[in-house]
């Protein structure tokens, strides 16, 4: 039995809850967006985020308040994904990401559309579909950096890779994504293009 508390006096549980809401729950949208791109479907993304929050709340005493809660949560989310969801929701990587030769869309469009106006014609769903087709290592780099705006250092910490790896993955991921969107735009007739 716990002692009844005087109303207005914060208990340790209230403190814990309050700080968790303030520092962790505010990142729910970020966790959800990253989970969606990792799992590829809404039901698994829901479960992954819920599990992440549960694990985070249990381990909340290990989190140093005022430090990078978003990075801490995303690290938990990614581990949960790797351990429990990846085998079930995605096929293991069969692509050698280092062998992917990046294609420079800009060089091809220098004459026709140097300002990249064709991007504006591509709708959200098409962009998300193109991201989902990227190899997982590229997908997570793009989502953390370009969608969630995290620094190279934060991304490196979450993915447990050196900063140089983040840079090179981002470079190839962005170029590959551009090439996919370019092919789509050519197919839709938004641009002529000249890629063989």
């Amino acid at each position: 039995m716990t002692e009844p508390t005087t109303p207005g006096t914060p208990t340790p549980v209230d403190d814990r809850r309050e700080s968790f809401e303030r520092e962790a729950l505010v990142h729910l949208d970020t966790l959800y967006r990253v989970a969606l791109r990792l799992t590829g479907n809404a039901a698994d993304a829901d479960d992954l985020v819920q599990e992440t929050m549960l694990k985070a709340y249990r381990a909340w005493h290990q989190y140093q308040q005022g430090t990078n809660a978003k990075g801490w949560l995303l690290t938990i989310l990614r581990h949960a994904f790797i351990n429990e969801y990846r085998r079930r929701t995605r096929h293991p990587e069969t692509v050698d990401v280092d062998a992917i030769e990046p294609f420079a869309v800009f060089e091809d469009l220098q004459e026709e559309d140097p300002q990249g106006r064709f991007f504006d014609q591509i709708v959200d769903d098409e962009v998300l579909r193109a991201i989902d087709e990227l190899p997982e290592q590229f997908r997570e780099a793009i989502v953390l950096s370009d969608v969630e705006g995290m620094s190279y250092e934060e991304v490196a910490r979450i993915l447990s890779v050196p900063i140089g790896t983040v840079k090179s993955r981002l470079f190839r991921a962005r170029r590959l994504l551009q090439a996919k969107l370019y092919d789509y735009a050519v197919g839709m007739g938004y641009i002529k293009g000249s890629r063989a």
Partner: protein, 74 residues
């Protein structure tokens, strides 16, 4: 700084990950070099487009309710 070096730093420049010194050198180059400036602008437009297209999704309210219930029993 020449064109090759500037382009090598392209994404780090746009991501604001360069040291102030190198960033200044890249900016200097872009002031004097129209072709590089066009390429940087193109990539900048691409990154802004990406973020604009993907940031819209929010966690469903139902998920938030589920989590609050699970954590705090509400």
């Amino acid at each position: 700084m020449n064109c090759r070096e500037a382009v090598e730093h392209l994404y780090e420049y746009l991501d604001k990950e360069l040291t102030p010194q190198v960033e200044r050198e890249v900016r200097q180059h872009l002031e004097d070099c129209q072709p590089c400036l066009e390429q940087f602008d193109f990539e900048d437009a691409f990154l802004k487009f990406l973020q604009a297209r993907c940031r819209g999704r929010c966690a469903p309210p139902e998920l938030k309710r589920r989590i609050l219930h699970e954590l705090f029993g509400e």
